[in-house]
Amino acid sequence: MDTNPQPSGGSPPKPWEQSGASTSGPTPFKPPSPGTTSDVVEASGTARPGEIVTSTNSAANRNTLGRPVPTRPWEQQTYGNSYGGIGSGMNYNSGFGSGMYGSSYGSSYGSSYGSYGSSYGGYGGGTYGGGLYGNNMYRGGYGGLYGGGGMYGGGMYNGGLGGPMGGLGMGSMGPYGDQDPNNPYGPPPSPPGFWISFLRVMQGVVNFFGRVSILIDQNTQAFHMFMTALLQLFDRGGLLYGELARFVLRLLGVKTKPRKVQGPGPDGVPGPHNPRGLPAPHNPHGHQNFIEGPKAAPTGSWDNVWGDS
């Protein structure tokens, strides 16, 4: 196997080095400097060891181009600035790109970030409004509102993704309620494990969409493939197309009565005693409006996504 063993002196000479011919005329390049690369760079005064650059820094350079530059997929929501303030160098903003898919993803993620943005602010990270609100007595309510916002955005535009996240923002504000409300500038308590892990998960989601978006940038074929896969994933519960069709019909003014599974539940709550269609406490699947009938939903969040029409 070792046909050209030259482990000490570097790789064997390249074929173009042996050929001698170098160029078709004078070159615009400066002649090489002697020494190692680090010496050369340090001698030139341009060395900056270990410089960390966040992608936002280069925004100032954009006007050096004569043409518009697409927005980075992880930079499309302005919520991201607040997370920058945490000092992690992470960009949590998402958004999915452009076009019709972009609007739905962007809105649902944006609003769900809102929900955990305010909670993060709750322990004093950064100068974002969340930090301000988070340390006063309105903490719980604010978080709740934001979470509700996420729910609203999600429910309006994207049912599946936005809903559970909004719910999370609302329901999990409790742990921060016991901070000292009179000490807004005190040292932030150590972040709870749940939120850190949640943020990591969210960054995974953001990375996921960022990479998908880059792939889509590079190639429309990948976009088609990805959307097909995503639709298949969403349709695994047998919900997507039925609900979509019903929604479109509803927009067109056609009243489609969802097939309600209303009859007496296993606990014997009869229909007439439940006139508003609310599910009985022990019968969580008693109010399903799936067109395809009483198929069990993967999670409860799919229920009632489109309202009660």
């Binding site: 570097g10 790789s11 074929p15 190692t36 050369v40 030139s44 410089e51 050096t64 190639n219």
Partner: protein
């Protein structure tokens, strides 16, 4: 010719500059979108007809997008990892001691690495955080950072004759030429109207750069007269993902594309398409030409296959 099946989707392939029968393959799980990565070091069979065999492989926590062999040590590899790290592997060391180093400075995915072929002590990494970084193995941090691009930098390539000069290709539709001694780029070439995914220098004419773009074309530029391309190579059906000049012939270059083909071009003649290989059944994203064996090519793609073949032969032929 030999084939190797990788467990993950292929992203890049590079022949060793030391051993004519050795190559490295960078792979990533789930098309590089989510999951782990693996770096394979493969060996060509002594006799034709046998499959490629694996010498060693290394697992990473995120996808590996590119790999480069050291030009100074025959066992050292540099890997571009999607978590933003640049990792150094030494195949001479036991697996427990690998990776030898992990440099964590890029804030986004690292998309390419290139080892300096002339001074042989440094390498470049280009990243989706819009920067290119210059590293040496003996320093714990990067020497300097080149930040001018306004979008992801997909590729950076050293000039094979001018040891301080390199070019970078970016999604901001420009190629920039840099000298590591200068504070800024020395040249900005608005090479395409759409994103540029790769660039490479001609090995025999130090002023020629080839660029591969989302606009499905490859363009060859002379840095002295960069208002017009020297040549425009059309023929790929989708974005061109990678381009490499031949180490043995001035006018030949090879490319791979999202149209799943690998093409060989002669940019100086009218009918520039010399050969087309459609052996991949998914996106072909990695291609390389052997420096040591004339005409020996390798490619990898999302179909999880690595092909090595002689130009002019069928890669799928047993």
């Amino acid at each position: 010719m030999p084939v190797f099946k990788t467990p993950f989707n292929g992203y890049a392939v590079r022949f060793s500059p030391f051993y004519e029968n050795r190559l490295a393959v960078a792979t990533a799980q789930n098309f590089g979108i989510l999951g782990n990565g693996r770096l394979h070091v493969l060996s060509l069979p002594p006799a034709p007809g046998a499959p490629l065999s694996e010498i060693v492989s290394y697992d990473t926590a995120d996808g590996v997008y590119d790999v480069a062999w050291s030009e100074s040590h025959d066992s050292i590899l540099v890997a571009a990892v999607a978590d933003g790290s640049v990792k150094i592997f030494d195949t001479a060391l036991p697996p427990a001691q690998n990776p030898l180093r992990s440099f964590q400075e890029h804030t986004r995915e690292v998309h390419s690495v290139d080892y300096n072929p002339t001074r042989r002590d440094s390498f470049l990494s280009s990243s989706w955080d819009d920067t290119v970084k210059l590293w040496t193995l003996d320093r714990p941090a990067s020497i300097r950072t080149f930040k001018e691009h306004a979008y992801c930098v997909y590729s950076a390539a050293w000039n094979p004759r001018h040891t301080d000069v390199f070019a970078s290709a970016s999604g901001d539709c420009t190629v920039r030429v840099w000298d590591v001694r200068e504070p800024g780029s020395t040249m900005i070439i608005p090479a395409h109207d759409l994103e540029i995914l790769a660039c490479d220098w001609n090995k025999y004419d130090d002023c020629l750069i080839a660029t591969a773009s989302v606009d499905k074309s490859i363009r060859v530029w002379d840095v002295r007269t960069y208002r017009q391309p020297v040549s425009v190579l059309n023929g790929h059906g989708y974005a061109v993902r990678n381009v490499k000049f031949s180490p043995h012939h001035r006018n030949l270059l090879v490319s791979c594309s999202y149209d799943m083909t690998v093409c060989m071009w002669d940019f100086m003649v009218e009918d520039s398409l010399v050969g087309r290989y459609d052996h991949h059944t998914e996106f072909a994203v990695g291609v390389d030409l052997s420096v040591l064996v004339e005409g020996l090519m390798a490619s990898t793609g999302w179909d999880e296959l690595v092909y090595v073949w002689q130009h002019g032969t069928d890669p799928r032929a047993p």
